[in-house]
Symmetry: C3
């Protein structure tokens, strides 16, 4: 059964721009600059901070938290835990990006501890969603190796279970994006293959999801709206780019000029109930 969103993506984007949510990121070294630029382009305000000594202050001032486990180290893991706990206790939403979780035991352990603090949204590629659930994946590193059709079907089931288990929204992105809260499933089409040839596109998307859920009430539809904007901007940029180098400025310009009325945003979503 097809269902419509109570609030269309364009309106959610407009609300983000009116409220310019302050997004606290504890993210990996590669994603620092791209994530900040992507947040600024779409209309949010980025803040990166990882010192244990200021985490409480930063969580207090920020509207939302985004934790990304790439380029871990022990002090950063402690900061992530403290930040996730503080955000959860303060009733502030937070996003977990389990980047490359399948690549090491340290990443798996870190995610396990972080999941105890109840993220609002988990965003990863198919390999990461599978690895987070303890299932085997084809991934070797941080880029997805699970984009084949049957792998996506299997991973979608895993995403639904994960959402039910943790009472959160799970966004699985790749050739096709799916978002689920364990009850409904939203498929989002769009994007462009060049998005896989630019670093930190997924990481920056997690930050954009954080901005959307800070500005809007329903995490499921807010996450889907974030993905729809991203997929649309990726498609536009891919159309104009001649490679991954020219893709980046075109992508940021498109995010910046996206209009709440941009017609394709809504038509990219297909919502169904999970049986």
């Amino acid at each position: 059964m097809a269902i419509s969103l109570s609030c269309p993506p364009g309106s959610q984007l407009e609300r983000l721009r009116q409220t310019t949510p302050l997004v606290h990121n504890i993210t990996n070294h590669v994603a620092m600059t791209p994530s900040a630029n992507t947040l600024l382009a779409i209309g949010a305000s980025p803040l990166m901070a990882h010192a244990l000594e200021e985490i409480q202050d930063i969580v207090r001032v920020a509207d939302v938290l985004c934790i990304n486990i790439g380029t871990l180290s022990v002090p950063w893991i402690e900061a992530m835990q403290l930040a996730a706990e503080a955000a959860h206790l303060a009733g502030k939403p937070w996003v977990l990006d389990p980047v490359g979780v399948g690549a090491s035991l340290l990443r798996q352990q870190t995610c396990r501890v972080l999941l105890d603090h109840q993220p609002s949204v988990i965003r990863g590629n198919a390999s990461e969603i599978l690895a987070l659930a303890g299932e085997a994946s084809q991934s070797r590193g941080v880029d997805s190796g699970d984009d084949a059709e049957d792998a996506i079907v299997r991973a979608t089931q895993t995403a639904i279970s994960l959402a039910q288990q943790h009472g959160c929204v799970v966004a699985m992105t790749g050739l096709v994006d799916v978002v689920t809260d364990g009850k409904q499933l939203i498929r989002i089409t769009g994007g462009h293959p060049l998005m896989g040839r630019v670093t930190a596109m997924g990481c920056a998307l997690s930050s954009v999801v954080a901005a959307f859920i800070a500005a809007n009430d329903e995490p499921l539809s807010a996450t889907a709206s974030a993905l729809a904007c991203y997929a649309y901007a990726g498609e536009c940029a891919g159309y104009h780019a001649t490679g991954p180098g020219s893709f980046v400025p075109a992508f940021l310009d498109t995010l910046y000029t996206l209009d709440g009325e941009t017609p394709p945003l809504e038509t990219r979503m297909e919502i169904t109930n999970v049986a």
Copy 2:
């Protein structure tokens, strides 16, 4: 009373290019790459280093130091203190960028300790200048929330007091830029709103100020020249860009092609004596 600079900005830029000052940066993770690229574009040579064990060696080889307190951690704070102390003792100029100082107690404490080592220039936005002086600001994060006219007038007074108190130059940048040594005040016009939609533009400007004061004798006019070049390049890039993505390459290209004779540089400055 309007006064002219003893050395015009174009000549100061030429001197920077002839001497290619080596700028030692201890800066935040977001600003690392943009700051290095901005320094290279304008004709300086960037060096990033933060290990306590090599700080003394690096300060010795570098011409100038730029310290930016974003993405702090305890080991980095120690390195900043050691570097500031070593630069001060060696008689080398250094720049303090108190990024987001209002956001946490840790940042305030760090700035207090660093100020003891007598920076040559402090560069921040209005919110940061206010917070550094212990005054209330509208800022929530690292981006300025104090761009209204009366806020700027108040912050300008604070900048003048700060310069007098610490015997340094204070550069306050935003919709309007002001530079003061507590005796004279230089207002610089130019720039473009897109500069607020690109991360680390302020951080990179602090590094460019460092390059200018290393290459030229008078910190006040050297800082003003750095800001004039930046404001001019921002205006040109903003004119050609369709968003923050295309702004960045256009901005770097403009800095690179800036000519010492570029006429608009001088006409953007208005110098007055502080009453």
Copy 3:
């Protein structure tokens, strides 16, 4: 005597693309994002990780390792040692980039320890190659100050000795690139002066060399092929760019669209036996 490569650079590029080697980088904070984007553009898969606790896992899953000593700290030095040792024991190739090794004692000591783990390739500019061998250089920071003709001749001799001493390939890049295993010397022409005005171009090249040696059997010719692709892409991008800002997207686009059949690749190499 001129010799031809047993495997042409175009074929080596094709093999890289077919195998998409997973490149583990422990690199400096400035080079993180550019290196990842450069690897993705040419067709490899980047992974950045430096936690001691996951180094063994990451080395196991990766095809090759690239260590770059910029922005050192003690915990990172420990990770580098562990990674180099693990890679060497596992028979996996690894690349050492001794960035700015002349700038501090800490960098010299770090390189000395790393060299014990037998890198497959050392890649640096002339100043770094000289400093690594304990010879005086004109460099003050991380950018080369040794591009004059006689300095290059002297540095080339040093590169040959270094390759013989450590039983590895040495790639010295700058206005002219030379690659040697101590028996043969390959000179590669191309590139563009704007490459010196963009940060981390050398660092990212070290990662590209890592990808090439992972995908191909002979380190000498694989390294030369990496440099030929880079020099060609730099020349193309420089032709189209109006400055360092527009150079970067053009460079990445060219790497991405490089074809195994691109004719100029082979003609840029001149191979001689070391007397």
